[in-house]
């Protein structure tokens, strides 16, 4: 099983003020907060970690039939960034998942899977038109949309 998540960085900036008092503490573990504080690009780190959690939540919630708003229970570790690529591990209720992310100036996309490297998936990122639902007929394994973008992944 795979899960994905896209963050439109422009939309995220417009909608969310993660610098607000108490925000980071509600969402991120101490270790993740440390990563954000020491990052040369804290904004990118916030949304990278966020997209890792969201992508993994999509798998874990389906597998375990688990529904909760518990971002702090999805713990990101082993986060490695190299140029425009990032990888990491997200643990939720003792289950380990693996993530691979693309860091672009306008968006961050993460794909998560149950093994490393993440199962080979064909990823299609396009502009999102809420009135066009034709992508549903293409049977994507996982779908994410945010702001201007639609991200589909096929196995």
């Amino acid at each position: 099983m795979i899960g994905n998540d896209i963050v439109d960085l422009y939309q995220a900036d417009a909608d969310s003020n993660w610098r607000r008092k108490g925000y980071l503490q509600k969402v991120f573990t101490m270790e993740e907060q440390q990563l954000i504080q020491t990052s040369s690009n804290p904004c990118q780190m916030v949304w990278l970690l966020w997209s890792m959690k969201e992508a993994v939540y999509k798998i874990h919630s389906r597998k375990k039939n688990w529904q909760a708003f518990a971002p702090g229970k999805l713990c990101c570790t082993e986060v490695k960034i190299s140029g425009q690529c990032a990888s990491g591990v997200v643990t939720c209720q003792r289950v380990r998942y693996f993530t691979q992310s693309s860091l672009c100036p306008d968006f961050i996309h993460t794909i998560a899977g149950e093994s490393f490297p993440v199962e080979a998936a064909r990823i299609r990122i396009s502009s999102y038109d809420p009135s066009d639902l034709s992508y549903r007929n293409t049977a994507p394994a996982t779908v994410s949309h945010h702001g201007r973008y639609l991200a589909l992944a096929y196995l």
Partner: protein, 84 residues
């Protein structure tokens, strides 16, 4: 606190983040924050923080996990207000 008053305060808070004006208009105890009001998950954190500020309570992580709809939010707020 009167339940109607509590509901109207909650409605004011979620109004800033809701992307579905019709669902907001007909907000009731069964309204789901993400499925009905289309609040994105990053803004769910803001709802929790706004609720903490408005009612001067602290919402622990276990309570936050369940805060996915109006009825759960009301129950959590009422419980926390009693504990004050």
């Amino acid at each position: 606190m009167d339940r109607q008053l509590l509901l109207s305060k909650l409605k004011t808070i979620v109004a800033s983040y809701s992307h579905d004006k019709d669902a907001l208009e007909y907000l009731n105890e069964t309204t789901d924050f993400t499925k009905d009001l289309k609040i994105n998950s990053a803004n769910l954190v803001d709802v929790v923080l706004d609720v903490e500020e408005e009612f001067d309570i602290e919402i622990d992580n276990l309570s936050m996990e369940r805060m996915l709809n109006v009825s759960a939010a009301i129950e959590i707020i009422e419980t926390k207000l009693k504990e004050k």
